[in-house]
């Protein structure tokens, strides 16, 4: 499978453990002589064994079961708190909450449209940039890269996933934003300003910066899933295309990408899920102004950012409830998106592949 240990998820380590540990070779011999399946052995032991060990077994099983249930309990608790604490806002505003344009806590009006718009635009911009880059990286690593470089490059790409969001934000404020303001945005305004997407005052901070940072953060997610599904395509498919007289790119396109496309879409959707929920880096570079604007130079605001910025200072129960409702919406959307993504990826890799969040 992969040739390097992925730093964000352990896979490789136990490959070697296919042989039994040296400590118990004689036990293995004993087991071979008896030749029973584990379950019948257990039955026999439970039948013949003194009571003494059945209680510890049961206690252990209960403890373990409780930890498993705790996972379930946590999710239920989280969902419950979100629903409960947003009740006030839900009751007050109903569905108009989601298309109201006006976010004015002082006046008591809470319309979440600017945040939904900001979240969607920043995430889709991120995907627009990240998808070609990620697929390109995955294609390079899987099909074009010389053997000895493979481990290093894949490690470096995975390293992008290890950088905390707040550090991306820091870099965004002090390095990316000035770069955009001084070089990139004027250039875009000159060349593509007529489209309306690149007009208005150039702050550096704004939707464009947020989209770029999100793209960088999402690339390792999409790239690693794409790599996994590409590697899962059997070698004979590649050979079949080559034998027809195809160039390497044609082989990749027809023999690999085509077969892996469902999984790749799953990876993209997972990347979307990650982008939708990303908070710190976006908050630090998006400008935090609740407005719907066409230009990418303009500041914006996302659902996650408004919660981060205003939650601890929210005065009044309605204000807090409105913010929690935004949190609830975020929870539900990411839930659906992630579930969809995992479904798609599992359909290709057969249910056992880890999907990196």
């Amino acid at each position: 499978m992969s040739d390097s240990v992925d730093p964000m998820n352990p896979t490789e380590p136990l490959r070697q453990l296919q042989k039994p540990a040296t400590a118990i070779p004689s036990m293995a011999q004993v087991s071979r002589e008896r030749k029973p399946a584990a379950s019948t052995v257990l039955q026999k032991i439970r039948a013949s064994h003194p009571r003494a060990s059945r209680i510890p077994d049961a206690v252990f099983a209960v403890i373990i079961l409780l930890s498993a249930i705790s996972v379930f309990a946590i999710v239920v608790l989280v969902a419950w708190e979100l629903i409960d604490k947003s009740r006030m806002s839900l009751h007050q505003f109903g569905t108009s909450f989601f298309y109201g344009h006006d976010w004015d806590p002082v006046a008591g009006s809470f319309g979440a449209m600017p945040f939904i718009y900001g979240t969607l635009v920043s995430s889709f911009l991120a995907l627009l940039l990240a998808v070609p880059a990620s697929v390109g990286v995955a294609v390079y690593i899987t099909e074009m890269c010389p053997q000895r470089l493979r481990a290093i490059i894949s490690f470096l790409v995975e390293l992008l996933a290890a950088i905390p969001s707040v550090i991306y934000g820091l870099w965004g404020i002090f390095v990316l934003a000035p770069l955009l303001r001084v070089y990139v945005e004027p250039f875009l305004a000159r060349t593509l300003g007529w489209t309306g997407f690149f007009s208005g005052p150039m702050y550096g901070l704004g939707m464009l910066a947020a989209g770029i940072i999100l793209a960088i953060m999402v690339v390792p997610v999409i790239a690693s899933i794409t790599r996994e599904v590409m590697t899962a395509v059997p070698q004979n498919q590649r050979e079949a295309v080559l034998a027809l007289g195809a160039t390497r790119w044609e082989m990749i396109r027809m023999g690999v990408l085509r077969n892996a496309r469902i999984g790749i879409v799953g990876g993209i959707i997972l990347g979307l899920g990650r982008a939708l929920g990303e908070t710190m880096a976006v908050t630090m570079v998006i400008g935090n102004r609740p407005e719907v604007a066409k230009s990418l130079f303009a500041p914006g605001y996302t659902m996650a950012s408004v919660i981060a910025n205003e939650f601890s200072e929210a005065t009044g129960d309605l204000y807090l409830s409105a913010l929690v409702e935004i949190g609830l919406a975020l929870f539900l959307v990411t839930l659906i998106v992630n579930a969809l993504a995992r479904l798609l990826v599992w359909s290709i890799t057969g249910g056992t592949a880890r999907v990196r969040a």
């Binding site: 029973p36 052995v41 946590i74 870099w171 996650a304 939650f311 975020l330």
Partner: protein
């Protein structure tokens, strides 16, 4: 027979096909470069901008009042350690326990449900976890605390650790378990002393990676640990954390604080990358021991 169509098959690889082949290779190489440039840039800037401000004062002092030059992030470094310790106390047992369940007891529909739930939890945005913990603990206790921050981060560790533990346990060959049962060792003992022991390297890897991941988290701490400009070692008081401090300083208007933000970020990334690297080194060394 073939003669009527034999001339229809083009005889040579057209220029267009050659160009697209070359173009695809170029595009892929460019993609790799494009993706690695920010990585390089971030690390370079962290070192350039941060190293100057990492000095003894930075590592041992608490922040000075806004506007004043000097001071450090000692309380944030310690605070992060405190919060992570609490997170581990919650995350490790629940995570490993769930992983054991999934591998040893959960090969059924209920186990699938738990597995799915763990994945759901994994995908919940960290800020939403922060809201939930705020509502569950901070509101009830009526104050921010290191404890609530630790709970939030601990919750986030659980899915990663559970999945890693499950995977590693599934890789332990069944003959080992059967051998143990055959000797009359009860299931609980087998699972702990034999299966888990065999899988320990991978499980530890999973734990450390979960650890590294939450160490850098900021959002869930915003309204749980909340941050603190002063020393705090009490679990039930607002506590500083490195990630929070970097955030607060970065968005502040003070130049000196910006410099300290870079320094704090450098320390944070060194800790995280250090943990990841330590994991890779110990895993490869551990492999030779365990194999």
């Amino acid at each position: 027979m073939p003669d009527s169509v034999s001339s229809s098959a083009p005889q040579e690889v057209s220029l267009w096909r050659r160009l697209t082949d070359q173009g695809a290779t170029t595009f892929a190489v460019l993609a790799v470069i494009l993706v690695l440039v920010p990585l390089l840039a971030i690390f370079v800037y962290l070192v350039i901008k941060g190293i100057g401000s990492v000095n003894l004062a930075f590592l041992t002092q608490t922040p000075k009042p806004p506007g004043e030059v000097g001071g450090g992030m000692a309380n944030a470094i310690v605070g992060t350690g405190l919060i992570l310790a609490i997170a581990s106390v919650i995350g490790l047992p629940l995570g490993i326990g769930s992983g054991i369940y999934l591998a040893e007891y959960g090969r059924n529909r209920f186990g699938d449900l738990i597995r799915f739930t763990a994945d759901v939890l994994n995908g919940v945005p960290s800020i939403v976890i922060g809201i939930a913990v705020y509502s569950l603990i901070v509101v009830r206790q009526k104050h921010f605390s290191a404890f609530s921050g630790g709970v939030a981060l601990g919750i986030m560790m659980v899915p990663t650790i559970a999945r890693a533990t499950e995977e590693m346990l599934l890789m332990v060959p069944n003959v080992i378990r059967e051998a143990a049962y055959g000797l009359g060792i009860p299931k609980w003992r087998t699972t702990l002393s034999i299966s888990l022991r065999t899988a320990s390297a991978g499980v530890i890897t999973g734990c450390m990676l979960a650890f590294a991941r939450v160490a850098g988290e900021t959002a869930p701490l915003l309204f749980t640990a909340f941050g603190n400009q002063f020393w705090n070692l009490k679990l039930n008081q607002p506590t500083a954390a490195l990630s929070l401090q970097v955030f607060t300083y970065a968005i502040s208007p003070y130049d000196d604080w910006h410099k300290q933000a870079w320094a704090g970020a450098l320390i944070l990334i060194v800790l995280i990358v250090g943990a990841v690297a330590a994991v890779r080194i110990t895993t490869s060394r551990g492999m030779m021991k365990g194999a």
